[in-house]
Symmetry: D2
């Protein structure tokens, strides 16, 4: 079966525009290896590509993407833990200086969690998605405390609370917590609004997400 024509076309477009222009940079990165300074934990959503939204250069950020940009709690057992493996690779081997949990509006995974909870769907329903998004259950309390609203009724509040919880879960990884305590690593929460392109930034000290100040679009 042939690969989709759009992929071939898109690849050729990339190769003859951006790759051509940056090929020396790609070659250097291939020869010297990557040294990203940021680990971005983002959603699989097709509308929120981190390298696009942050106009990142090749080599700038390691990007792990899963449904709803979640960080599971530290659980070093015999199972396959893809997100945790990426975090270990970023922190212990590449020694990134920043980890960013980047959520977004209209998240299908967060919406599924709200739907399941409101309708009493069991976490064992289906094979993987229901169980995976059930991971954010503890965040409902965070939303009540921080956003002051019932996150089951408010999609945005649940999305923001899930970001907070993922940051808490990051701190359950002992070597990550140690790096943060040593001042070698900082953790950040962002939320991107697909509809208007605005970005909210978590201010942990103030306990709030603030919209990034920016010039209006023309």
């Amino acid at each position: 079966m042939n690969i989709p024509a759009r992929l071939v076309e898109g690849y050729r477009g990339f190769r003859h525009t951006r790759f051509r222009r940056e090929r020396d940079h790609y070659l250097r990165l291939a020869q010297s290896g990557q040294r990203p300074t940021t680990l971005m934990i983002a959603c699989v959503d097709s509308r929120v590509a981190p390298e696009v939204v942050f106009d990142a250069d090749p080599g700038e950020m390691l990007v792990v993407r899963n449904v709803a940009n979640l960080v599971p709690p530290y659980q070093p057992d015999a199972g396959y833990h893809g997100t945790s493996a990426a975090i270990e690779f970023a922190v212990r081997q590449l020694k990134v200086a920043h980890i960013v949990v980047c959520g977004h509006a209209s998240c299908g995974g967060i919406n599924a969690f709200r739907h399941n909870t409101l309708n009493g769907v069991d976490a064992a329903h289906g094979d993987f998605v229901t169980r995976w998004v059930d991971m954010v259950a503890p965040a409902t309390k965070l939303a009540l405390t921080c956003e002051g609203v019932d996150p089951l009724q408010d999609q945005t509040a649940m999305e923001l609370a899930a970001i907070r919880q993922s940051i808490m879960n990051l701190r359950s990884f002992p070597w990550l917590k140690a790096a943060e305590d040593a001042g070698e690593l900082s953790l950040h929460g962002l939320w991107f609004d697909v509809a208007d392109g605005s970005l909210r930034v978590l201010d942990e000290a103030a306990g709030a997400f603030d919209t990034l100040d920016d010039a209006p679009l023309g």
Copy 2:
């Protein structure tokens, strides 16, 4: 702790160039929801951003990224399975028409597997990475058969074999296999060479990866 200046700068660049230009498209995607036709399974590597390499528009492809672009075998238990959840979301809910496993040259995860195997490092070493990349162990036989070389001595052969194995693992998901058998879904393997920007495409019938024919760069 403030978010990195480069992220703010990059975001502002995006917002005032590409987002401004495509904001109607973003707004429509926010209002009507995403309908990607492709699930891309890619690596966390900072040099291989799928939306860049395939010049994808917002909304075109769902992207799951983990260390070494691996697909675990079907294992529907009580654990958190991030990659499998993304696959379930893509196939059962979004009903994508294509799944692409996209590997690349100089993959740190594949290199770690080769190093560990050659040096007898136990899969339980460390917390997550060693165990995660050990998932490709069965692919060593595939490489011997298909590429005809010892993949422990040949990084590219191991990378290509891992793509083959991930496609085999995809077919262990019963509803995915059913969709493929029904002609509703097709599976593809790609491998991107960071150094020269070339792309190899898996031809399953011929049992080989072929470099995509393309005009030379000027």
Copy 3:
């Protein structure tokens, strides 16, 4: 009076995306001077920016733009000849290897010429535009010969004929003709269709414009 907000915004977008990415290249070009290999003679039209349509890098092509991408005949007198000065600068000083006359569909200047001719508007009407576009009057015969249609009834035929005539006028510059005869310079004619993005290329030997063969858009 302040400069338009869109210019400031656009400039900031450029500076923080493309300029940032290519600033080493810009710096080198500033230090070593430009060495473009092509002179592009294009229209002032807001829909046909040569650097966009040909995805040109900074430093690649010298670009002169006037109404209807016209080349006046060689006329070295005491008047100010902007287009001829650009041609002299390109050929005698920068020694470009190519000159491209790039026309396009829906050209307002060509349309004005056709309107004026059909309605008997005198070339002295208005201050400059009528006189300027009247320069293409000899091309009406070229269109009858080469395109086989009455160019006053056919906008595209007139646009193509005007490109042919500009190339003839280029050859009236003695040092340019000498460079072409010496094999150091080649002349080309292109026509861009704004509506569908196709490009026609003048084949002088065959006496025809051919659409550039290209893969269809996805």
Copy 4:
């Protein structure tokens, strides 16, 4: 003679990336005609493409380019006046709201004028360039007054003074002056530094060029 391979490659890159993404916009512009709000008067220099530096969309600005971005004085005679024709087209037919004279650092045309003047080269030397750039001779006094330096010794001062003079020359076009007086048109001067990407803006009231305030690059 075939067109340069880089042009074909660049065109294909454009067509399969930006044109594909914006083709609805191009089609609308082809059907409804252009309505640019700005006339940009820029240099032929290969390093200073206005649509790139101001990240302009198709349809946004009419662009006339000549050696050293000069505006000749109003001279409605039987000669061919390309720049003046573009100005007439922009002001009287398209009724643009802004005219921007955009100069830049390391301008070859301004440098030629300084060289010629310092070395007593006659304006009749060569065919067109010497005469064309001699147009800025009156600006040497402007530079002494406004920049306070001898512009024959200072390339930047001469470049800035030439922009001032072009704006004065614009006001010699009676219908342009009338539009400005009626508040329907505003005139602007900009100067782009190729080496560091900074932009200076003419403040006519204050009699000075100010660097546009901007965030530093990361």
